[in-house]
Symmetry: C2
Subunit: 210 residues, 2 copies
DNA sequence: AACATATTGACAATCATTTAACAGAATTGT
DNA sequence: ACAATTCTGTTAAATGATTGTCAATATGTT
């Protein structure tokens, strides 16, 4: 992997490319040009070519890009060819909703355990997985080779819990708590701040061009 | 409102400022300089000043920014001083989780109705709100002055449903379906593509600096 | 009241991203 | 087999975002 420093803007666009290429593949399309893809996705063809070239040229002059090949290459770049074990920390509504959402499993994100600090929830079954008490988190993570923790607890305990997770050895935290975590540089944090998103939407309504 | 064109990058940062200012306010802090805020939030002081200046100068030389005033001004910019009525379309796990999450209501986002096309779910009670069949969506939206629809249905029906919602007169769609909606320019769409987020996280793990 | 200090707003400089342009390679059609 | 066409990869230009600097202005101190 020539792992220079690819800009975050490019990385953030890859999942969308991946989605469109998957659709094309499912429709039996074998090849596509940057121009046609640009029309489909409503971005410039130049950006598409520029983006893919960060990963040393998947296309061919006069032909375009092979859909299936490109699809698979992007999967590799995104690490979707590897399996990831994950635990959900926080078995509230959101935690349970994520656990019940099957599609992540199909992409290789395997839910190994669900944890909560509320004894009332422990033992409850969520899609065949029993909710355990957070006391057992550390042992479980080590034993089950977990690399991703999904943090779906209220913001009050999130920073502390994140620190525990890091100590247990997780490599990445998918953070749904509405707070900035404080973890070492080598830990990957991906934030999903739903209320931020809703506020942006609200801004859009109020400041509509019309 | 001098409503020039403020960059999306700035808007995207406002909710985070708002969160930090709220915390400061709750801790009884009355004023803060861009420098102190920069240390707290780990962004440059220059960016903070630049950002706030898009909205014509909330600060004062030699003093800094008044926390409460700034907090309230950002709320206004984000439209949080206005109430928004919303409906949730899709009463699956995610739809129910969002309905159960009280905090949005505190910010003025009032859940007026929940809809699903599955007759089996209709009548089910979610936090005091009965799930209705989508047939009743149009009438309900008009009668209840709904301006935001939360779209939590599988991607297959999402594009069609979004078109219906637009016809019914919603101003904005908070889209959790994993597909790009096709709506007129004056309709605000805020996407929350959870699998995209998870893929970015996966990229981070695989291409870790370490 | 005068001086030292703090701190913004504005502008300039740097850095990053996006778009445009085009040479050159592969494909297609005749 | 040759010419016309289609496209990419690459380089250059344009645009946009972030950071650094500093004069101007307020506050705080003596």
């Amino acid at each position: 992997m020539d792992d220079k420093n690819i800009s975050q803007a490019v990385i953030a666009r890859l999942p969308r490319y991946y989605r469109y290429l998957g659709d094309l593949k499912d429709n039996g399309i074998e090849r596509i040009s940057s121009q046609d893809l640009s029309k489909l996705m409503k971005v410039t063809a130049s950006q598409i070519r520029q983006d893919f070239n960060n990963f040393c040229g998947f296309g061919q002059q006069g032909y375009g890009y092979n859909v299936e090949y490109l699809y698979n290459e992007i999967a590799k770049i995104l690490g979707l060819n590897e399996k990831h074990n994950l635990v959900i920390v926080g078995a509230g509504n959101l935690g349970q909703a994520l656990a019940n959402y099957m599609n992540f499993e199909r992409r290789g994100f395997l839910i190994k355990g669900i944890f909560d600090n509320n004894p009332g929830l422990c033992g409850k079954d969520v899609r065949g997985i029993g909710v355990q008490h957070v006391d057992k988190l550390e042992e479980f993570i080590k034993k089950n080779d977990v690399d991703i923790a999904v943090l779906t607890i209220p913001k009050e305990g999130a920073v502390k819990t994140a620190e525990v997770l890091v100590k247990c050895g997780v490599k990445a935290i998918w953070n749904f708590a509405h707070v900035d975590l404080n973890v070492p540089d080598n830990i990957v944090v991906e934030n999903v701040h739903l209320s931020d998103s809703l506020m942006k939407l609200s801004y859009g309504i109020v400041n509509k061009k019309q």
